[in-house]
Symmetry: C4
Subunit: 226 residues, 4 copies
């Protein structure tokens, strides 16, 4: 069943620890209501060269991920080994994001505020978050005096096409996509150099989405009341 | 006390596992605040022919359901065995929903957003949820580009009458009720081919209800502010 | 130190179980954010004749109540035994409520929505909750078609005076206070024939407060938007 | 590695218990969503003379603080011993607040409502909270009939400068800063004579921030609707 040439033995030995860590993430994100109803998927880059990605299988309950609820895919999103598990429909987004230099983890979550804001700001193509101390937790940001653009992509079932557009935005020299983005009505993608950094990015974005959502509600009612 | 002919021995042997699973659901839904104050009830179809349904007994605390807080009823909602437990007043709704082909689990929850939206949209008889990725988690839905009608029934203490109206809507050839519905001021009914699918449907509906509620609040204040 | 005549031995033997149950309530209500910052107090009527009440001591952290964080008081609110613990400043409210026939438990909680609604409706002396299925969980209510008046008392540091006014409202033959009430900016008092019923009443009131609060916000913005 | 003269042996012996207590605080505050994304920091004054402060190290995940995720600093904010850990960038705020007489613990949290209100009231320099029973939980406050001024400082990366301004406000004879304050877009600082009191202050402030935020939203929509 196992193809010995597909995954280096040294890499294979790291699988159990990565799987344990992603199972813990699932339980945590489920309880934050960021991964309800089998939504969300999480991946860890096992090696960049050759590209090997450990990814949650399609349609799994994140509250209690089993040790077998994962697949390993290559740079084309193909499962390395025959398995009963199906890679997520969104595998190619994880692959595109995981291939970035210094990226070792990609997390996709699906929260209420991310969904609401992605709707609210779809027409404008995104929204900016600015001036919050929490922004300093994003990799490479050193001051609250920072303007984070949160791009919103239209949702589609053509994930390959979406992955290409994301890829173009990541390599846009003038104004590259950074830290994360939203898909309309579908949630957040973010990443990091390891699982801890990617999780920190999730927490920071989700925190800021709720801040922006609640502030917007208060500001609008203030205008209406005046 | 036990009537040996009422429940096949092979079915009876499955009871402890079903009861354990429903106790876990109770604790989970209590913590999501979907089953406070002894509200909610949950059922599992043990067999369709003859129809046997395992159902939470009336008025039980869902935080810590005991192994004895359940009853088994037949297709008329009558308890199969003498027991100190009373079947829920809503037994006939569970029976009507559980008799559908391919349905093995019925979950009724009672959340804040379901209650608020059922009030808000009672006059219109329901509301549509459209365009969200989360809709893909509903059985048979394969794209976010889907319009889910959430019907709202007026609340009543005549559950038998309500069960008949629901039954008619389930078998409405032109426009059948699908996946779930709301009772005004009373919460959600949804179902699935097993407990996992029914729970997934609960999580998806509850997620979407909160999204719709928060988006509505933001949209209304935007109109008021303009 | 112990006055043997103050607490019947048969009653004393019930103390550990009551204390365990109230410690569990504290942890539960803390996690619902209904008992933050040492707010709230809980009591169990040990006997009506003579009147003996087990009550959380003043200023205790409800997250982790210790076995010694309780006092036993008589019908005048006096501690039966010398103790380092101070009865809560609100002892006399617990005594007045606990003396009602069939009442064996009094729970005072301090939630965000109770506080907000008590402010919003103080001028009107209270507010009605009507038409919700959840109302059926209140003792003696058998239909959702019920109108529950939630009286709001002005807050005061003169608890003895407040206890007298509450006492008058409880024995008001024409329109007696039932199930519970709010103190402005201070939270909910409710009670029951045992701890389970009183806790059910807390959960029902808190659920309905949030429903009313969120519905009010949506309705007001609808009016503003129209 | 250890400088024997830097920390009295009697003080050193208290470290494990303080560290255990702060680790518990981290897990608790993480679950309240007050310390997401490595935000927040917590400190305990080990001794006032000489001034020794135990402080969470920079950038640690508060969900699961490790026993080594702490540093001990002196009255200039310098680490007493060579360590791989970096003191938090906000060390000097902790030092300034910890040097107050009777202060033994300083807690900095970073919640959604604190962030939203700090934005909303930055122009006015702060806001008052008045009339709530919960205010009685603040040290020295004996009635709900109390007006608590919550000062909002503009955020800055010049923490030394901010610490000086805070120091001036603490020693302002006419109108001293009391109990806590907000930094705009950055969260709450509060303190107490021990960890329990400081935690109580956090819970009280966070509770009241949410009450004020929700009440403001309801009031504004009421004005808009009228």
């Amino acid at each position: 069943m196992s193809a010995p040439n597909s995954l280096d033995e040294s890499v294979r030995r790291t699988l159990p620890a990565h799987i344990e860590a992603l199972r813990d993430i699932g339980t945590l994100f489920y309880h934050w209501a960021w991964s309800l109803g089998t939504s969300s998927n999480y991946s860890v880059v096992l090696s960049h060269e050759p590209f090997r990605l450990l990814l949650t299988a399609s349609g799994k309950d994140k509250r209690r991920l089993g040790p077998g609820d994962f697949v390993v895919v290559d740079g084309d999103g193909q499962a390395l080994e025959a398995t009963a598990q199906k890679p997520s429909a969104e595998t190619m987004l994880h692959v595109a994001l995981g291939k970035q230099a210094n990226v070792r983890c990609v997390l996709h979550t699906h929260s209420i505020w991310a969904t609401v804001l992605s709707d609210l700001h779809a027409a404008g193509g995104g929204f900016a978050i600015e001036g919050y101390e929490m922004l300093k937790g994003l990799s490479g940001v050193t001051t609250h005096d920072h303007r984070q653009w949160v791009e919103v992509f239209e949702n589609t079932q053509d994930i390959a096409g979406l992955a290409k557009r994301v890829q173009q935005r990541l390599s846009d020299a003038a104004n590259p996509l950074r830290h994360g983005f939203l898909i309309r009505g579908h949630g957040l993608y973010t990443w990091g150099r390891d699982l801890d950094e990617a999780r920190r990015h999730v927490e920071i974005f989700e925190f800021l989405f709720e801040v922006v959502g609640r502030r917007t509600a208060l500001e609008r009612s203030a205008v209406a009341a005046s």
